[in-house]
């Protein structure tokens, strides 16, 4: 079959800039074949190469005594004691989800689950951080329904409990929704599988589902901005099959237990190309692939298509040849494909054969390591102007503005579509700050949260980056967990614009400072750039996924307030309203600076909560919506009313950091402990009755609850 001639247009349509193409020519010393051009474009796009972000990612703290394996593998690995490890990562599937919400979101979940089980871990928890455009935008309701259904359809059938996440709405996501999927799994610390190939002449084995034409060029698509040709990109979205993924999980875990695996890598972005190159490069080996042996779903597929297909539910493995029969039997048992498609070779070559032709013959290590790397120009985000006077609003009207908006309304509409309990180890289901899952067969548990406040990052990338980590810290501490480590999913606009790159740099610096101060190293992550449509970027959204541990379930704080419990605020209140949820939702004002984050105060407050858990019945961190929203949510969830003494807006709705609200019958003990620890502790109200009172403003809880519980469904109807 004749292949297209390499023209300037063809190069451009592969997302390669003229100077990048020159670099390619310099590496191979000749014009590439069509297949080779495709392979380079797959390896060098932003999504796979991190060419704009690498320089800054290197600055993040990634080590600590708890870290078994940091960034660079499929997912991060963290020690949880007793010879066990938690393996986790968060990854975006933004562009595909906007084009085809159900499949885009479903395959995002599938991809992150594979990242976890390809390392030998059984997934035990999933989360999703979703950002959508305004509910009034014509695409939003369709996207919300499709994405939530897609997430649910995949996770529910696969059998992983979805225990947390976020859903927000903002006009900046109108043309570019964000779908950030997190998964965590459990493995024995001495049975973790890596992608380093070793040994010459070892068989390279293809596992899982057959290869089709779906997703060809997906990673390149995900590295481009959107415009009005978006509908033409639908064929680049993959199609998910959770039933196959479930079988692939079980088969892979059995295969790993059999001792037959030398190295294994899931086929994610850029499928066969990326997985083969990565295994070879890490092992200092070449790889030869015979594409005729690749299991194919369609006839007449070209080498180009096979190398770039992003068909789902596939793995590539280097096999111990003496165990081939045992390995094959496992895949026969699970009715999955098992095909030897190549071998490791001593030369530094990535050799692709199809029919009797050499379709690609490239220097493998250069292909892997010599992707362009950019030190993109950036400008510091200017300091925001001070906040003008805030318009007047009655306290309960302010609360109504928040709980009636879909970003802050009750999220049952979303999370009830997710199976949050499969596995029967879910201790804290969605709806609270962090989800908690017991480590099966033990008294230990892991807590999971995902956080970011994009308004803050937009106003002040450095403080906003810090705040995302600090809020994750707080959510973990609020359930009694000790924070362990984080994964970052960095969603930004076009990095070729200095002001966008400035947001990225500022956020990275803030995240780095916070994970260092709070000892929550980054162990894995993902960068999604070019989240722009027609030249307009999203709010910078560096989602932080974090994991904490409860050494015993005795450490859990998961109660509900009881009638007569005192509401006690931990931490200092200054009434910071800049960039607050209240201003955004009640007045459409996004002005002022983000609240400053005092990391030492965060650490002290979090440690105080954990140390005093016996005096705490229920606990919530304070974030968007401040004291008022946290107190309302705690009371509403317990079916109680609430009295807060304060009636002024800054005290009620200010978003000062490093604060928690607790319900307690032992307020005096907490106040005394606070004095000893140097942490501000103050009584601010009480739980009980059937009304909500903020100062002199009072309303029945039943009416507020109705608003809170129906607003989301109405917004996406």
């Amino acid at each position: 079959m004749s292949e297209p001639a390499i023209t300037q247009d063809l190069v451009a349509s592969h997302g390669l800039k003229p100077d990048e193409y020159e670099r390619l020519l310099g590496i191979i010393g000749r014009e590439p074949t069509f297949t080779e051009l495709g392979i380079f474009s797959a390896m060098w796009n932003e999504h796979c190469s991190y060419k704009s972000s690498k320089k800054w990612l290197r600055t993040l703290p990634t080590t600590g005594p708890q870290v078994i394996c940091g960034p660079g593998e499929n997912a991060g690995v963290v020690d949880i004691g007793d010879g066990q490890a938690v393996i986790f990562k968060m990854e975006s599937h933004n562009h595909p989800s906007y084009i085809e919400p159900h499949q885009g979101a479903a395959t995002g979940v599938g991809g992150i689950l594979r990242d976890v089980f390809t390392m030998g871990a059984r997934p035990i928890a999933a989360m999703n951080a979703l950002s959508f455009g305004l509910p009034s935008h014509p695409k939003t309701a369709h996207l919300v329904k499709g994405v939530v259904e897609g997430v649910g359809s995949y996770g529910n059938a696969f059998g992983v409990p979805t225990v947390g996440g976020e859903v927000r709405f903002h006009r900046s996501y109108n043309g570019n929704c964000l779908v950030n999927a997190f998964a965590a799994g459990l493995a024995d610390a001495d049975k973790i599988f890596y992608s380093v190939a070793s040994g010459v002449g070892m068989p390279v084995v293809y596992l899982g589902a057959k290869t089709g034409r779906d997703g060809v060029g997906g990673a390149t698509m995900a590295s481009a901005e959107f415009d009005d040709t978006i509908e033409e990109k639908r064929p680049t979205v993959q199609v998910g099959d959770p039933f196959t993924e479930k079988r692939l999980l079980e088969a892979c875990l059995e295969l790993m237990a059999s001792g037959a695996v030398i190295s294994i890598q899931d086929m994610g972005a850029a499928g066969l190309t990326c997985s083969a190159v990565e295994m070879g490069d890490k092992g200092g080996l070449g790889i030869k692939l015979q594409l005729d042996d690749v299991p194919q779903r369609e006839t007449g597929m070209t080498a180009y298509e096979m190398m770039l297909s992003e068909s789902q539910e596939r793995m590539l493995m280097v096999l111990k040849p003496e165990l081939e029969a045992e390995a094959r039997a496992i895949f026969v048992k699970w009715d999955l494909d098992f095909a030897i498609v190549g071998e490791t070779i001593p030369e530094d070559r990535f050799l692709i054969l199809h029919g009797n032709e050499v379709k690609a013959d490239l220097p493998l290590s250069k292909l892997a390591s010599s992707a362009p790397e950019y030190d993109r120009p950036w400008v510091e985000t200017p300091a925001p102007a001070a906040l003008d006077a805030v318009p007047e609003i009655a306290p309960l009207d302010a609360l109504r503005a928040l709980i009636g908006s879909p970003s802050y309304a009750h999220k049952a509409w979303v999370y009830e579509q997710y199976d949050s309990q499969v596995g029967a180890d879910t201790v804290v289901a969605p709806g609270a700050g962090a989800g908690v899952v017991r480590v099966h067969g033990t008294g230990k548990a892991l807590a999971f949260t995902s956080d970011v406040t994009p308004r803050y990052v937009q106003a002040n990338p450095y403080e906003g980056g810090k705040q995302a980590v600090a809020e994750a810290w707080r959510n973990l501490c609020a359930v009694g967990a000790r924070p362990l480590a984080t994964t970052d999913n960095l969603n930004f606009g076009n990095p070729e614009k200095p002001e966008i790159m400035g947001q990225f740099v500022g956020a990275i610096k803030g995240i780095g400072a916070a994970v260092l101060a709070l000892d929550m190293p980054i162990v894995s992550g993902n960068v999604s750039l070019y989240n722009e449509t027609d030249g307009k970027g999203i709010l910078p959204t560096p989602t932080i996924g974090a994991v904490g541990i409860l050494a015993s379930l005795d450490e859990l704080i998961a109660g509900r307030p009881r009638p007569g419990d005192v509401a006690v605020l931990i931490g200092e209140t200054r009434g910071h309203l800049g960039q607050s949820a209240l201003l955004a939702e009640a007045f459409g004002i996004e002005a002022g600076d983000a609240p400053p984050v005092d990391l030492e105060a965060e650490r002290l407050a979090g440690e105080f909560v954990r140390a005093n858990r016996k005096a705490i019945r229920a606990c919530s961190d304070l974030s968007d919506g401040g004291l008022a929203l946290a107190a309302f949510e705690m009371a509403e969830g317990a079916g109680l009313g609430l009295v807060l003494e304060a009636g002024d807006i800054p005290t009620l709705f200010g978003e000062d950091q490093a604060r928690y609200l607790v319900a307690t019958a032992k307020a005096d003990a907490l106040i005394a402990a606070g004095k000893a620890a140097g942490v501000a502790v103050a009584v601010v109200g009480r739980f009980g009755g059937d009304a909500v009172s903020f100062g002199a403003d009072t309303a029945p809880m039943a009416a507020l609850s109705e608003l809170y519980r129906t607003a989301f469904a109405k917004a996406v109807a």
């Binding site: 059938a157 196959t244 479930k246 999370y415 579509q417 949050s420 029967a424 201790v427």
Partner: protein, 222 residues
Amino acid sequence: MKAAVVTFPGSNCDRDLAVAFEAAGFEVARVWHKDTALPVGVDVVGIPGGFSFGDYLRCGAIAAQSPIGAAVRAHADRGGFAIGICNGFQVLTEMGLLPGVLMRNAGLKFVCRSVMLKVATTASPFTQSYAAGQELAIPIAHHDGNYTIDDAGLQRLKAEDRIAFTYAANPNGSMADIAGVLSANRRVLGMMPHPERAVDPVTGGADGQGVFASLMRGMALA
């Protein structure tokens, strides 16, 4: 007492069901869908929740035709005990061991939450540990739990006291609020809610323990 838990390739509550049986004192054997016989001496067969064969079309329809299906049917025909939970309930209806069918939820969405069930009859080996009319908090997690049956079938279920559980607030459109039904010999139970997810106070309550405790007691008497 010995329980067998069947695993289809897309089962995902098989481990949870085995744990619940073990906690109630059963010895548990795991059975693969390609097996053609149950282990010797099995008293009760458990068909777990999940998505047996992906269930993209009719839930449980392919599972009902799997090799182990014939052995399960023979076990039931001999008067053996069987419980099908969620997808397992769908499989038992597809196998013809229980009447009716589970349609798509009336709300057309997957629903996962803890719901209140009422014990509709205590005259069964699965419910005898409960009090009549007792309310239980048990989680549901399904997309196709809308129990549907023809009028004659419904009248018969009622007349023969074969409705095991009903929903206090119907979450899926099921006829007569039915959450679980019994076979004519009362030895096969299918239910959409997940009692195996409610056997430990730490993870969502212990109201489901009674199903397994009842069974243990019931079989001791049988």
